[in-house]
Symmetry: C2
Subunit: 373 residues, 2 copies
Amino acid sequence: MANILDSGVKLVRNVGRYNIGASSLGELHGLLARLRTEASQKGEPAYAIFLVDRYFKPDSTTGDRLAFRSGDALKFIDTTDEPTTDEIDSLVAALLQEGYTKPVAVVGMGGGITMDTAKAVSNLLTNGGKAAQYQGWDLVKLPGIFKVGIPTISGTGAEATRTCVMTNPASGLKLGMNSDFTVFDHVIMDPELTATVPRDQYFYTGMDAYIHCIEALAGSYRNAIGDAYSRETINLCRQVFLEDDMQTPANRERLMVASYLGGCAIATSYVGLVHPLSAGLSVVLGVHHCVGNCIVMRAMADYYPAAYDEFWQMAERQRVSVPEGICRNLDDATYKALYDASTMHQKPLTNALGENYKAILTLEKVTDLFRKM
Amino acid sequence: MANILDSGVKLVRNVGRYNIGASSLGELHGLLARLRTEASQKGEPAYAIFLVDRYFKPDSTTGDRLAFRSGDALKFIDTTDEPTTDEIDSLVAALLQEGYTKPVAVVGMGGGITMDTAKAVSNLLTNGGKAAQYQGWDLVKLPGIFKVGIPTISGTGAEATRTCVMTNPASGLKLGMNSDFTVFDHVIMDPELTATVPRDQYFYTGMDAYIHCIEALAGSYRNAIGDAYSRETINLCRQVFLEDDMQTPANRERLMVASYLGGCAIATSYVGLVHPLSAGLSVVLGVHHCVGNCIVMRAMADYYPAAYDEFWQMAERQRVSVPEGICRNLDDATYKALYDASTMHQKPLTNALGENYKAILTLEKVTDLFRKM
C-alpha cells in the first residue's frame, strides 16, 4: 500500500433523509403534501418544480406517480449531453419567467444529469446569478430550495454527493457547485425505477460506483470512513455483477445502495487514474462519463491489476460489450489534447501515482494508454 | 437464511454533518462561533449548553477544548447508571431555572449515556413537558435545540441513532424518544478522545456494534442498506479486535467508524436474541448494557455459532475477561423475572426466532441460558 496521506476532508454533510425499498416512490406524496401544507399555513405559494428525465415523458402516469398537481412546474430534461452552465441558466430563467420563484421543493427524477440539474436549479433559485459563478468550492452562500432526488439509474452516486457537474462552454471548465448546500434534503431510492434501464447502460453506470471505489482504496489520500464506504460499495457491486442476472429486483436494490454508499465514499476520498483519463475522453471526444470509465479499463491492467481482471470478468458474465478501438488511429494533435485534458487532474493523479505523476504519465505513455482503448 | 421479512423501516434521517479524524474536536470552535454569531445577529442569546461525562471533570483543559465561554452552562453527567426519565427532568429543570432556556446548541461529549442525555435535553427544551411523555415513537413534535454529539467511546452507535434510551422508574419502562428530531445535527468523531478508555470497557462497548450487526444479519427483517452497513461494521470490528492491539490510533479510528455505521445499521434493522437477554440482565440485575451483551454471548453457541466462536477468539486475542457465573445460582423468582424482562421484546425475538418464539424460549430454556452466563 502507498504512503497514506490525509484526505483533507474533515467535514461531511449527509443527505437529510432517505427512503429505501420497492414502491418507496409512493412516499413522495406524503412528503410533498407536508411541504405544501406548511407553505400554505405561512401564506406562501404551495407549488413544486419537477425536473424529470425525458425518458419518462411518454408515460402518462408520471405526473400521478410524482404527486404533480395543477400549478406545479414539470420540465423534462434532455440527457443527450451532460449539462452546460448555459442550459442550467436557461432553465432557471424559464422557471422564473413562468412565475416559479419560490417553490416548496425542487424534485429531480432521473440519472446523474437530471440529479445534477435539480441541485443546480435549487441553488440558483435562492442564490440568484448565473451557474458559472458557483463553479468551484463553497461559493454557494444560501441554502437552496428543499431538494428531493429520485435516482432512476444506479452508479454515479449523484444522489449522495455535494456537487453537480456542469461544463461552462465559454471557458471549457467542467466543474460543479461543490457545496454543503448542494446535498439533497431528501432522497428516494426505489429499485422499481431501474427495472427498465437498458442492460448496457445499467452496467456502465453501475461500474462508476465500482471504479471510483477501486481508485479510492488504491490511493494515497485516505480515511477510515471513506475506506469503509468504498469496501462495501465494491462488495455490493460484486454481488450484483458476478451473479447471473444483474437486474433481478434484489440486485437492483443492492446496486441502488451501492450507488448511494459510493457517493458517500466520494464525499471523503478521491478518484485515481481512471476518472482523469475518462474525463479526457469526455472533453475531447464527447464520450459520456460512465461508458468512458469502462473504455479506460481496457488500459488499466498495469495500474489496477486485480480490478482489471474482475471488471472484465463482470462484463463477460453480464454479456455486456464495451466499445473498443475508439482512440486507435487519432492524429498527434488529438492525442496531445487527450493528454492535456487528462493530466490536468492533479489531485486524483497524485492520489494514484504520487506528486511526480507527470514523470510517469508522459505524453508517450498517455498516448500509448489511449491507443489501448 | 431465514424467510426475509420487510423491516418496515421506510424513512431514515441521517446525522446532519460529521467531522472525522484525529484532532477534529478542534472543529467545534468554528461551529459554535458560527452558531453564536447567527444568534447574536438575530438579537438572541448566544450561550451554549455542554453536557459532559464526569470522567472529564478533573481535566482542567476540558472547557477550552470544548470552546466553553463565560455565560455557557457546563454540566457533568454521572454515568454510574443509565439515565432515568426523572434524572433527565431534573437536569432540564435545573437548566431552565438557571436561565438556559434557548441555547444556540446542546453539546454532548461522552459515551452512550451522555449522548442520550444530550438528545433528550435538547428535545425537552423546545417541546416542554416531561421526558416520560415522549417515550415511544414519533411523539416529539418540534425540532430540538441544535445538538452536537462527541463520542468518547465507540460502539453503541448513539451518535447516529434516532433514540435516547431512558428508564421510567414509575412504570419500569425502558424506552427512548424514537424520533427524527432525536438525531444529532452534528457529530464530531475524534479518535484521540478514545485513547484513554480502559481496555475492558473499550472491548465491551465496541462489541455492542459487532453484536448488533451479527443479530441484524441473522434476522428475518432485512433490507439492502441495513445489510450493507452491518457487513462493513462487522468487517471493521474484525480489523480492530483480531489484531494484536485493538487500541492503536488506526484501530481507534476504525472502531469510531464502526460505531457510527453500526448506528446507521440499527436505524434500518432489528437486533435479535442477545439484546433482549441483555436487557433482562440490565432490568433485573442492574448490569450495564455493553458488558451485559458480552455476558449473554456465553450462552449463544447454539444460536449464533460462527459469531460465538469469533467473539471468544476476539476476547482471547485482546486478553479481555468477561464476567462469568453471575446468574448461576439465582432463586426461581429471579429466573422468572429474567424470563419476563427478556421475552417481552417481541420485535427482536421475532426477528431472531420467528413469530412463535415463545414456543422456543420457554421458561425452562431461558433459565438454562441464564445459568450458562
